[in-house]
């Protein structure tokens, strides 16, 4: 018996099946269809290609292997729906009664209780249907409120993002470095979380000057120590006592460090998308915050 061709066929079938599944199909699904991505409830286009300096910074991030310790993907374990009452209107009693009869999960509601301290969350973690019903009841009775959709999960609770990461977040990136380890915190949203460039410079130069007991190595080779001649450079790092260079010297970031920080600041994935719906914090429509002209 000679099974040679059969084995070749087996390998061919097995590999081409997985090739079609995980190489070709994702190209068809995500490679083309995504390009018109924009957000659902705002006119804002998302994502936007990274500016040039940030793109250079991506190369620095890649060259120094930052992604072996930092992931760039936020997870989410579920979604929580809340209902926030923003305005009680002129008939609080009717609102309270309406909410009770609508059976949206509110057991004791009275006019005085609802009116106090608005806006406030009156329904927490309810089915979306109940929250919408509550919105309709309050509106019909002259009050108003918003349905709030929030992502939940340990990553979200750590403040690493407001929703899970999806394919659209990486649309324009070449060399997507999602990372597989969390030796350090996730960076998917670091530009929104830590928007201060100086903080990043100090952190890269001596991590322990800003994060106590940090396990991150110092990237001092991205900086230059030089003698101050004339006026100090405006770029020079403002370091705390004990980390600062000796008198007469200053630490300035190299072009690589500047690009890297620009890249870190460009990491921002806090726009809601259809595939990961969340309510972004907008000013609640409470009377005090309307822009109606003063009477």
């Amino acid at each position: 018996m000679n099974y040679g061709p059969l084995i070749f066929l087996a390998a061919f079938i097995g590999l081409s099946a997985s090739w079609f599944g995980f190489v070709l199909t994702p190209q068809i699904q995500l490679g083309r269809a995504q390009q018109a991505t924009n957000t659902v409830n705002t006119a804002q286009l998302y994502p936007i290609a990274r500016p040039g300096l940030a793109q250079e910074g991506l190369e620095v991030y890649k060259a120094n292997g930052c992604f072996y310790c930092h992931s760039q993907q936020v997870g989410q374990t579920g979604t929580q729906v809340n209902f926030i009452l923003t305005e009680i209107g002129t008939n609080p009693v009717a609102v309270a009664e309406g909410l009770l009869t609508a059976k949206v999960g509110l057991t004791n509601a009275n006019a005085a209780g609802l009116s106090a301290g608005l806006p406030k969350t009156i329904l927490r973690n309810v089915p979306i249907g109940d929250a919408k019903k509550a919105a309709k009841v309050t509106r019909d009775n002259g009050a108003s409120g918003t349905v709030e959709v929030v992502a939940v999960g340990p990553d979200i609770a750590r403040g690493w993002g407001i929703r899970r990461s999806v394919a659209a977040d990486y649309l324009y990136d070449s060399t997507v470095m999602l990372g597989s380890q969390r030796v350090g915190p996730d960076l998917a949203n670091v530009g929104a979380r830590l928007p201060d460039a100086n903080w990043h410079y100090r952190h890269l130069y001596v991590p322990r000057s800003v994060v106590k007991d940090s396990a991150m190595p110092a990237y001092s080779y991205l900086f230059k120590t030089r003698k101050i001649e004339g006026r100090p450079s405006p770029d020079a790092l403002q370091l705390d006592e004990g980390f600062a260079p000796e008198n007469g010297y200053e630490i300035v970031p190299t072009d690589e460090a500047k690009a890297l920080v620009a890249y870190l600041l460009s990491l921002n994935s806090s726009t809601p998308l259809f595939e990961a719906p969340v309510t972004v914090a907008t000013a609640p429509a409470a009377p005090a915050q309307t822009n109606s002209p003063a009477q």
């Binding site: 199909t25 699904q29 995500l30 269809a33 659902v40 409830n41 705002t42 006119a43 989410q76 374990t77 579920g78 979604t79 729906v81 305005e87 209107g89 979306i128 249907g129 929250a131 919408k132 919105a135 309709k136 509106r139 019909d140 002259g142 108003s144 918003t146 349905v147 709030e148 959709v149 899970r164 999806v166 394919a167 809601p272 259809f274 595939e275 990961a276 719906p277 969340v278 309510t279 972004v280 907008t282 000013a283 429509a285 009377p287 915050q289 309307t290 822009n291 109606s292 002209p293 009477q295």
Partner: protein, 207 residues
């Protein structure tokens, strides 16, 4: 090729390896494989989103996602208003952007007429129309607006709410309820003549 290889003479271990293929696969293993495949089908059905490019864990299907959309799915009243506005009723003159057209039709975005704290005047204006000179955001306009009392109370309330609360236009005033529209309809009665700006200004805003 060297000569000893032309007559294959196998060593005992290897000769028996090529002849004896051993017992067949035990049946319990095949049963186990099929049980796993069955589990796999159930798992994929529950977690796989059926190959949709829009479904990410922990969501299960498009219906669930659509229901959770903020704004769109969450506020049907606002959406109704948007639909009424663009029928086109209002958008024919005031444009979908709410900017109107300079010198002809006044803007709604940021208009002091739209954003008044109490909606009494704007409801009248929409229900019965308006004609004659009017000043909006410091600009003079002189044209006329047709009455929209053919719309239901809910539609009028929704469209005014849409205009007053349209954050894309920078508007952020209180919502209007169908009851308020109904009350004004009853108060004004059977009027066929459009309002003028002066007339409207004489009405207290909360009436």
């Amino acid at each position: 090729m060297s000569s000893p290889l032309n007559q294959p003479q196998s060593s005992p271990a290897e000769a028996s390896q090529s002849q004896r293929r051993g017992p067949a696969v035990p049946i319990w293993l095949i049963v186990f494989l099929f049980l796993l495949l069955y589990w796999g089908a159930l798992y994929f059905d529950a977690n796989g989103g059926w190959f949709s490019p829009k479904i990410y864990a922990p969501y299960r299907d498009v219906e669930e996602l659509t229901a959770l959309q903020p704004g769109g799915g969450g506020n049907e009243f606002f959406e109704l208003g948007k639909a009424v506005y663009n029928r086109p009723t209002c958008s024919a003159c005031h444009q979908a952007s709410g900017q109107g057209s300079p010198g002809q039709f006044p803007p709604l975005a940021g208009s002091e007429w739209v954003l008044e704290e109490q909606p009494g005047r704007i409801i009248r204006l929409v229900l019965y129309g308006m004609h004659g000179p009017v000043t909006v955001k410091g600009q003079q306009y002189n044209s006329s607006m047709v009455p929209w009392n053919v719309l239901s109370d809910e539609e009028v309330a929704a469209v005014i709410t849409y205009v007053r609360q349209n954050k894309e236009w920078g508007n952020n005033a209180s919502a209007v309820t169908p009851d308020q529209v109904k009350a004004i309809r009853e108060k004004v009665g059977n009027r066929t003549q459009p309002f003028t700006a002066d007339e409207l200004m004489k009405i207290a805003t909360n009436e």
